[in-house]
């Protein structure tokens, strides 16, 4: 993940900062009044600096690209290449690299193709990277609701596309495993168990679907990374991550897996009871960027959400990237020209994601 962020100061597990220590010896010889004034000024200064630090999202900045795309057709490759080029990607970034594409195939079914990242998007992205001389491009998923990886390929319509394009598919649920330190540590999980295939990839690309989500509000490039967590360690569904807190888990996984790029399939998204039972929403959009929180924040805005109202994005702010609009350089289409209102189902549970 690339951000132009300075090194943040030491942080507590909950994201707060310890107040700087003031040695008692430094206060000797001061009158009580001057000491109080000085301490007050210092506290005010520290508080203001903290506020500014927070409001500036620790000076993290990113760019996202919004492109219109009305159909899953051959023009996608060109649209995606244009977007990536505007974000600074090109052959020099990709040549000789191993590229892993991570679509969202959480529970595909032929009856509801809007559940999963469309095969045409996966293929188009693969072609872009191949033409930029990637050493290899492969597709990998560890879907959360279906154990049978081949059923996922059958139901999603991806199998013939992979065969025709000669793209390998790796089942991340059933892979060799390595343990790695939880880089953020917001959950109680000290280590995360990850599939060995992640180590094979030089570049990890999250390819989510633009969907509402009944537990997280939206599921985009960050939530999509639940599919990098192997089911043999976390189960079906990956209930460990629910018990640890979905929002915190999203943040821990994003910080630990560190994807390089996100491209959101928002041509036909999902509204209502996402991520699997919602209804299709023709949004006709592709959203992409190097920084996942920024991509998700922009996409959330395009869906009619305020990113700060989504706990995982609020938690990402300044930690993993910027989410405030003024800190994200928008390329391609503007948010205002493409913004829509993805419906949520009428249930009190959903009010947290879109407060009155």
């Amino acid at each position: 993940m690339t951000t132009a962020a300075p090194s943040p100061p030491a942080r507590n597990a909950d994201g707060s900062h310890d107040a700087p220590e003031v040695a008692a010896a430094d206060c000797q010889g001061l009158s009580r009044r001057r000491w109080l004034v000085g301490t007050g000024a210092l506290a005010l200064g520290v508080g203001s600096a903290g506020w500014l630090w927070s409001q500036s999202e620790r000076f993290q900045r990113a760019a996202t690209f919004i492109g219109r795309a009305v159909a899953y057709d051959a023009s996608l490759e060109q649209r995606i290449r244009e977007g990536l080029t505007q974000l600074g990607w090109g052959r020099s970034h990709v040549r000789d690299k191993s590229v892993m594409l991570k679509p969202n195939l959480v529970e595909p079914t032929i009856e509801a193709p809007h559940v999963n990242t469309h095969p045409a998007v996966i293929r188009a992205v693969a072609e872009v990277f191949r033409r930029w001389d990637a050493r290899e491009v492969f597709v990998a998923e560890g879907q959360g609701h279906i154990r049978d990886g081949w059923l996922v390929l059958e139901q999603s319509g991806l199998e013939p596309v992979l065969r025709e394009a000669k793209l390998e598919f790796v089942d991340l649920n059933h892979d060799d495993i390595f343990a790695t330190r939880n880089r953020l540590g917001l959950t109680s999980l000290k280590e995360l168990y990850l599939p060995a295939t992640l180590r094979r990839a030089d570049l990890i690309v999250s390819l989510p679907k633009m969907k509402t989500h009944h537990w997280a509000g939206v599921t985009l490039s960050m939530k999509n990374l639940f599919g990098t967590m192997p089911g043999i360690c976390y189960g079906w569904p990956k209930n460990v991550l629910h018990h640890c807190g979905i929002d915190r888990s999203i943040l821990d996984i994003t910080a630990t897996v560190q994807p390089d790029l996100a491209i959101v399939d928002g041509i036909i998204g999902m509204e209502g009871d996402g991520p699997i039972m919602g209804t299709p929403r023709h949004a006709n959009l592709l959203v992409m960027g190097n920084n996942l929180p920024s991509v998700d924040a922009t996409t959330a805005r395009l869906m009619g959400f305020v990113p700060q109202h989504l706990a995982f994005l609020q938690g990402a702010s300044g930690r993993l990237g910027p989410i405030l609009e003024q800190h994200i350089q928008q390329r391609g289409e503007s948010i205002a020209s493409c913004a829509q209102h993805f419906e949520l189902i009428d249930h009190p549970h959903f009010r947290q994601f879109r407060p009155a």
């Binding site: 049978d148 081949w150 089942d171 189960g235 569904p237």
Partner: protein, 316 residues
């Protein structure tokens, strides 16, 4: 491999043997390290095929796998997913199923059965405003300690207990309640979520097969839930060549219904699809289990409907 086995079975057994690693069992991937679940199921598949045509190596390899699983057994009786990862410990039920087939592992089996009877997922009273469709208070087995019980670990645990004359145990009775409660109203099961926000979720063939196997092993009588599950499988199995779906789905169906016409063709097509099975011993083993006529009895399941169990394993 014996010449009397049908060629597609024989070729699949050969492929399974080629995928064996470290002289003990199977991993999830070709050339990977061995893992508990594929090792147990790989050994069970060899034993089941061996019932049709005896070979020297099947028993030898099953014993090697059983030995290796015994080496992973922890002091409390549980078995982790691999030699490197002692947790999670859901594969314990699979180890029991293998140790139930191979003589000499009675003490290991007894310790694991004790552990399995004590293992319980996190449950809680279902509140009035709960958005989940199922009863969250029914005890069952989780994938990972401290988390909610789910369909597959509950079903396999029930099979392991019932295979060891514990069908009347209270945990099995609770397991029946859980499986029935998690059924989807339209027929079948998925990972264990029947509905959310009042909307029924979608069933899947693999979990439906495991649920039906577990219910039959626990001597549950046919109820409308079972009937709907069988109807669902009869509807979808001809349309899929996905190995776990077809394998577990067919085994579950055979516990309650006669063998459907065309089942051999489905299995053969799935087994001959080399791209499906290239890296996946688990998939190969599951299909071989479904192709063998002795698997149900090896799992301790008596079919509800007497039927021609002999599948086309042997050349007519």
């Amino acid at each position: 491999m014996s010449q009397s086995l049908a060629p597609w079975i024989s070729a699949s057994v050969d492929r399974l043997l080629q995928l064996r690693v470290a002289d003990v069992g199977w991993g999830y991937r070709r050339e990977g390290i061995p893992y508990s679940e594929p090792t147990a199921l790989g050994c069970l598949a060899l034993l089941a095929v061996n019932d049709q045509q005896s070979t020297a190596y099947a028993t030898e390899m099953a014993t090697a796998g059983a030995d290796w699983l015994a080496s992973l057994q922890q002091p409390d009786g549980a078995v982790g997913i691999s030699a490197e990862l002692s947790k999670p410990r859901w594969p314990t039920a699979y180890a029991i199923l293998l140790w139930s087939q191979v003589p000499g592992y009675e003490s290991q089996r007894a310790r694991s059965l004790t552990w399995l009877q004590q293992r319980e997922g996190h449950t809680y009273p279902k509140s009035r405003d709960c958005v989940l469709g199922h009863d969250t208070s029914i005890p069952g087995w989780p994938w990972v300690a401290g988390t909610h019980p789910w369909l597959e670990p509950t079903g396999i645990a029930m099979l392991a207990l019932c295979r060891n004359q514990l069908a009347g145990h209270q945990r099995v009775r609770d397991g029946i309640r859980l499986v029935l409660d998690r059924a989807i109203v339209t027929g079948g099961w998925n990972v264990g979520n029947s509905a959310t926000f009042g909307k029924p979720l979608r069933p899947q063939g693999g979990p439906t097969g495991i649920a039906l196997l577990a219910l039959r092993a626990a001597l549950h009588e046919e109820t409308p839930t079972v009937t709907r599950g069988c109807d669902y499988l009869l509807d979808i199995l001809p349309t899929t060549r996905a190995p776990e779906t077809l394998g577990w789905g067919l085994l579950g169906l055979l516990a309650w219904r006669p063998r459907p016409d065309g089942a051999d063709d489905w299995l053969r097509e799935a087994l001959e699809n080399s791209s499906v099975l290239h890296h996946a011993p688990l998939r190969l083993a599951t299909l071989l289990l479904a192709a063998s006529c002795s698997t149900l009895s090896r799992l301790g399941v008596t079919p509800a409907v007497p039927h021609q169990a002999a599948m086309e394993v042997l050349v007519p």
